[in-house]
């Protein structure tokens, strides 16, 4: 791998746990989660619905707090039950249903982070934004509104918006779920291109096994509620990757391994009548 070195963003989960409503219904969302993500590593968490992967993402992002254990970033304590965490641009999120402000232009959306934080001037931000947008195949849409864009375009814009903040960790919450298969594979490739360019720690959650193995350096398989780590796989396939590896032997072997461990969990989740969080 001859990419640049990521500046920080190593994540470490130690006995992380999340229990909702401890005095009442006592729903155990996460149970004793332990694993590490190296700086600049692309980590994908797969699991059936209700396995707590979104809870984990929210904990890193700061939208939710863990009730036991701790999460560390680059060795320093990020959050623990005694240390609530606020959302920040160093852990930027790409949301599942899309969170581009529909009342602002694409350019405003993409540049608002650095401008609001005072990190870049308007001119600098605009230049950088235009450049990044071009890299994902979007040109001259800067003055359009998100409502005028297609699904694939919106996802790319949102990824660019996240990257403009130069986060240490990029969090993606099932970002390509609503895209059709063809658009999905194209946008995945754009994502990998950007990743190869400026490696960051990526925390990506999905239920799509093929997507997981295609994108990841490390695949973390979780069980259904209560969410525990079932298995951690290292994906040794080299980068840059393109769609052709989807039919390679190594890929199919890894995918089969993940699928086998997940299958039973998926059935359990189904029979437990888990309702999907997103519709």
């Amino acid at each position: 791998m001859n990419r640049g070195i990521a500046r920080g963003g190593a994540l470490s989960f130690r006995h992380a746990g999340k229990i909702y409503d401890p005095e009442g219904a006592r729903v155990v969302a996460l149970d004793d989660v332990n694993f590490e993500i190296a700086a600049g590593e692309f980590c994908v968490v797969v699991g059936p619905s209700g396995c707590g992967k979104t809870t984990l993402l929210n904990a890193i992002a700061g939208f939710d707090q863990i009730t036991s254990g701790e999460i560390r970033m680059d060795g320093a304590l990020l959050t623990s039950p005694g240390k609530p965490l606020l959302p920040g641009a160093d852990r930027m999120v790409v949301f599942q249903q899309g969170a581009l402000f529909p009342w602002k232009t694409v350019l405003w959306n993409v540049t608002c982070g650095p401008i609001q934080q005072g990190k870049l001037s308007k001119k600098e931000a605009n230049e950088q934004a235009t450049h990044l947008l071009a890299r994902v195949g979007l040109t001259s849409i800067e003055n359009q509104y998100p409502g005028e864009l297609s699904g694939g375009m919106k996802r790319r814009v949102e990824i660019v918006r996240a990257l403009m903040n130069d986060p240490k960790v990029l969090l993606l919450d099932e970002p390509f779920r609503a895209l059709d298969a063809l658009t999905k594979s194209v946008v995945q490739e754009y994502l990998l291109e950007l990743y190869d360019l400026t490696p960051k720690t990526v925390f990506f959650i999905t239920h799509d096994i093929e997507e997981a193995v295609f994108l990841a350096d490390k695949v973390v398989v979780m069980t259904t509620r209560p969410g525990r780590i079932l298995k951690i796989l290292d994906v040794g396939i080299g980068r840059p990757r393109d769609y052709r590896i989807l039919t390679s032997q190594e890929f199919m072997r890894l995918e089969g391994e993940v699928r086998e461990s997940i299958h039973d969990e998926a059935r359990k989740a189904f029979e437990a009548g888990e309702r999907e969080m997103a519709t």
Partner: protein, 293 residues
């Protein structure tokens, strides 16, 4: 009043929205039966009026002012009862009413929108103000007339006050609904992006609530005219509401019709103005909806 934030077009295949030019839309409209049917409906109404009242004088309809007589009175330079497009009295009444509605509406907007936003944004403020709002809101506006006359000095202020009150409640409620309707994910995104509180207010809350706010403003405008006319009838000395009643009282029925029609026109223009203002401010919605053809 649901369905205010149109969802983005779900594309079959990943295509962006295409904007249809205005000239094409105009041509399509003229080729469709729509404008002609509209004229048909409108003509049918006036024809029915004419037939029932002027010609057939059927049952109670003979008591009503005639269609032809009313029109003639309206456009006559020397009207029988002194009110027509050419008389000063017509415009002085109009001016009085418009002036009152304008002041009341502007005040209701200037106070109601910030309060509504604050209620949606800050939980403590909501807890303090919502119960009072919900207690006062069910009381019909006109039931406040006695109190308005007692509490507010003069003759103008009670009328303006009542008109204000009607619009005020509606504006607050719709603004509140607007703020509450904003998908929480936008707040999360804003926080992750490092927005300060003021940035969240200006770039998320206000634009996000704007569609609901403008629907509320249109309703508020209608409420303004309603309470204005009612309070003018009850306690006014000038204005279109007062004139309608006076015309009835002095059996000047054609004038009555003229004033009613004027009220309708003014009401329509004021609502349309608010709606157009909303469309201007919310370019993003216009563009999005324009593409869905």
């Amino acid at each position: 009043m649901a369905q205010l934030i149109a969802t983005a077009p779900t594309a079959i295949g990943d295509t962006a929205a295409v904007r249809v030019p205005w000239s094409v839309k105009m041509r399509r409209l003229l080729r469709s039966p729509r404008p002609y049917l509209a004229l048909l409906g409108i003509a049918a109404f006036f024809l029915a009026w004419y037939l029932l009242v002027d010609v057939l004088k059927f049952w109670r309809f003979r008591e009503l002012p005639g269609f032809v007589a009313s029109i003639r009175e309206w456009i006559s330079p020397n009207p029988v009862y002194g009110v027509s497009l050419f008389t000063a009295e017509y415009y002085s009444h109009m001016g009085a009413s418009v002036y009152r509605v304008f002041i009341a509406f502007v005040c209701a907007t200037a106070l109601g929108i910030p309060i509504g936003i604050l209620m949606g944004w800050r939980r403590v403020f909501y807890g303090l103000t919502f119960p009072i709002l919900e207690l006062l809101r069910p009381i019909p506006i006109l039931a406040w007339i006695p109190l308005a006359i007692i509490l507010l000095p003069g003759r103008e202020l009670p009328i303006i006050g009542l008109t204000f009150l009607a619009a005020f409640f509606v504006t607050i409620l719709n603004t509140l609904l607007g703020v509450q309707s904003i998908d929480p994910v936008y707040f999360r995104a804003a926080k992750s992006l490092g927005f300060k509180q003021s940035a969240i207010l200006f770039h998320v809350i206000v634009p996000g609530a704007l569609p609901y706010i403008f629907v509320g403003l249109q309703i508020a405008m209608g409420a303004c005219w309603f309470s204005l006319v009612a309070s003018e009838i009850v306690s006014g000395q000038a204005g279109l509401g007062y004139k309608v009643w006076e015309a009835y009282y002095y059996v000047q029925f054609e004038t009555m019709v003229i004033v009613m029609a004027t009220l309708g026109i003014l009401g329509y223009i004021s609502s349309a103005f608010v709606r157009m203002l909303g469309n201007r401010l919310m370019q993003w919605r216009a563009n999005m909806l324009a593409g869905v053809q």
